[in-house]
């Protein structure tokens, strides 16, 4: 049975491989013809790779106190007359290599940003599907809760969650749970956007005939939602998720800068800027400037990719 069915298929040209299909797609063409998107993607790839290879390529582990030497403290960047190899971007007041700290810090920032987007996506998609598909009181409760969240400024909710969670934890757990708390704190105010988008499409789709038909043959509700409705509203979701990745990294940095984020012994980029900010008036400008530049580069490259994606996936602009 199988063989007879596949025989005609053999005569046709071989189905292109996945890679080939990607290379022939409109999206790939649009990407290649957008110089800023290509540059941004290359930059982001470089930042991600160096951040995750940090333990292999940095001259020291900035958080292993044994590797820090006080006589290496306050060395300016290498192009300065007093600069010293291997401290390319100089050292801080404890002899910590700035470049190493930046790479380790980027890793923390990227992980927290990514995880909070994924968490917000999962929660937002699930609640949005339920609200749109079932309607009624479930819809009311979920969307009203979302309205309340949206009536408070994003950054304020994140600060409150982070501050209260940290304050109510015992001292030992605070540092271990700092990253998960931040992930939740940033995800809570951001799921509403996904939920609203998905709910709108789910309401439209669930009235269409193919969904009615699926219901008639008793396909389970969660299966209809996941396999039939969800794929139909992924385009705007992907654009929003990309732009929100930049926003999440920004929010994490802001929280850490304000002192309600990552602690100084496992600093993200925001924590590094907070630490460097103390030396603003003492001439040690490199402690604060380089982490700031790295943070801006990450957010900028993500936003440029998101900007391109929004235009590329917008059917009106084709």
């Amino acid at each position: 049975m199988e063989k007879t069915l596949s025989a005609p298929a053999m005569a046709e040209p071989a189905r292109p491989s996945r890679l080939a299909r990607i290379r022939q797609s409109d999206l790939w063409y649009s990407f290649r013809s957008h110089r800023s998107a290509v540059i941004a993607a290359a930059l982001l790839a470089l930042i991600v790779v160096t951040a995750f290879l940090a333990p292999l390529i940095t001259p020291q582990n900035p958080y292993d106190l044994a590797s820090l030497e006080l006589w290496n403290a306050e060395i300016p960047p290498i192009w300065n007359a007093e600069g010293q190899w291997p401290f390319i971007l100089g050292t801080d007041t404890q002899g910590r290599d700035i470049l190493s700290a930046i790479l380790y810090g980027s890793r923390i920032s990227l992980i927290i940003g990514f995880a909070s987007v994924v968490l917000a996506l999962i929660v937002g998609l699930a609640l949005g599907l339920i609200a749109g598909f079932f309607g009624g009181w479930a819809d009311n409760v979920i969307m009203r809760f979302g309205d309340v969240l949206l009536s408070m400024p994003f950054i304020l909710i994140a600060i409150l969650i982070s501050a209260i969670a940290t304050a109510s934890l015992p001292t030992g757990l605070k540092d271990i749970l700092a990253a998960p708390i931040l992930i939740v704190a940033i995800a809570v105010p951001s799921w509403v956007q996904y939920a609203r988008t998905v709910r709108a499409s789910a309401m439209v789709e669930s009235r269409k005939e193919y969904v009615q038909a699926a219901r008639l043959i008793r396909v389970k509700a969660w299966r209809i939602m996941l396999h039939h409705i969800l794929p139909n509203c992924m385009t705007p979701i992907m654009v929003a998720a990309t732009l929100n990745f930049g926003l999440a990294i920004l929010s994490e940095a802001t929280l850490s800068f304000l002192g309600v984020g990552m602690p100084p012994d496992q600093p993200s980029l925001g924590t590094l800027i907070r630490i460097g900010n103390q030396y603003l008036f003492s001439g040690l400008w490199w402690i604060v400037v380089f982490p700031s530049i790295q943070l801006c580069l990450i957010v900028l490259s993500v936003n440029m990719i998101g900007d391109w994606l929004r235009d590329a996936l917008n059917p009106k602009l084709r």
């Binding site: 408070m152 400024p153 002192g259 800027i273 900010n277 603003l280 400008w285 943070l295």
Partner: protein, 330 residues
Amino acid sequence: MLAFLIKRTANAIFVMLAVAFLAFVIFRFFGDPVEMMVNEQATQADRAELRERLGLNDGFLTQYARFVTNAAQGDFGISYRNQQDVMVLLKERFPATFELVLVATVISLVVGIPLGVVTAVHRNSRLANMLQISSIIGISLPSFVVGIMLILLFSVSLGWLPAFGRGDTVNIGWWSTGLLTPSGRMALILPGIALSIFQITMVMRLVRAEMLETLRTDYVKFARARGIPAARVHWRHALRNCLMPVITLTGMQIGNLIAFALVTETVFQWPGMGMLFIQAVTFVDIPVMAAYLMLVSLIFVVLNTIVDFTYAWVDPRLRDDTARAGGANG
């Protein structure tokens, strides 16, 4: 119209009650208020007495109702940290934040609108493309990084402008203003710019999008055909029709600016409400946190509701679904 007004107002009240509920839960269940207020030597009897006096033994709903009633009258209790009335503290700090937000809003309009017009009128020119790219950069720059860089450049290196504080202030009634003294005005420049960068790019992008649409309309084409100078067509006739959404955006963003001012205030040691809030966060001073949350949300909700009302007043189609359906049937 009346039905719409009532519905929107009810909605706003519901949102505020929900925010009050969150604030109440934070206030009541994170850290024991009694432990925060009494000193070390207080006996068990003292604590029990205080607990009874604060009404912490009453039912949950009774306590919530009392919290809402007090909050509506501006009574948020006593700050744990400096034993002062929370509302008095916020009132002292409000003018500093308000002036900062006002300056940032003015900067964003004065800079953002012309940039938006230029990028729309000369679109595809090199200048417009550069501005368009710098607007993405503007959205990507964290406001605290902008603040730090401004301090490094203008205070540390050049020594032109003060890096922290409000300078000298003058009291007019209970309102302390920095706008009337030279040092107060100097102190406003850097924080004002830092807070407005994001807003400038938003205004610029909005004006650009609106202008691009307006420039395609017949009346603009007609004005050009009549030989009215291009500058006059763009800056007077076309721009005027783009300003409504800008005003809306500015109104709705004021709440966000107040919230974001807390970052700017931390960078510049600006003695506003935001810094009060951040200090309260580090000391887990719950009454101040709860009051700030409710105040900012109130400003947010009130502005949004006003914007909705204005829209409904200008555009009758937005008023009520049922009225519209009825109209269509009749």
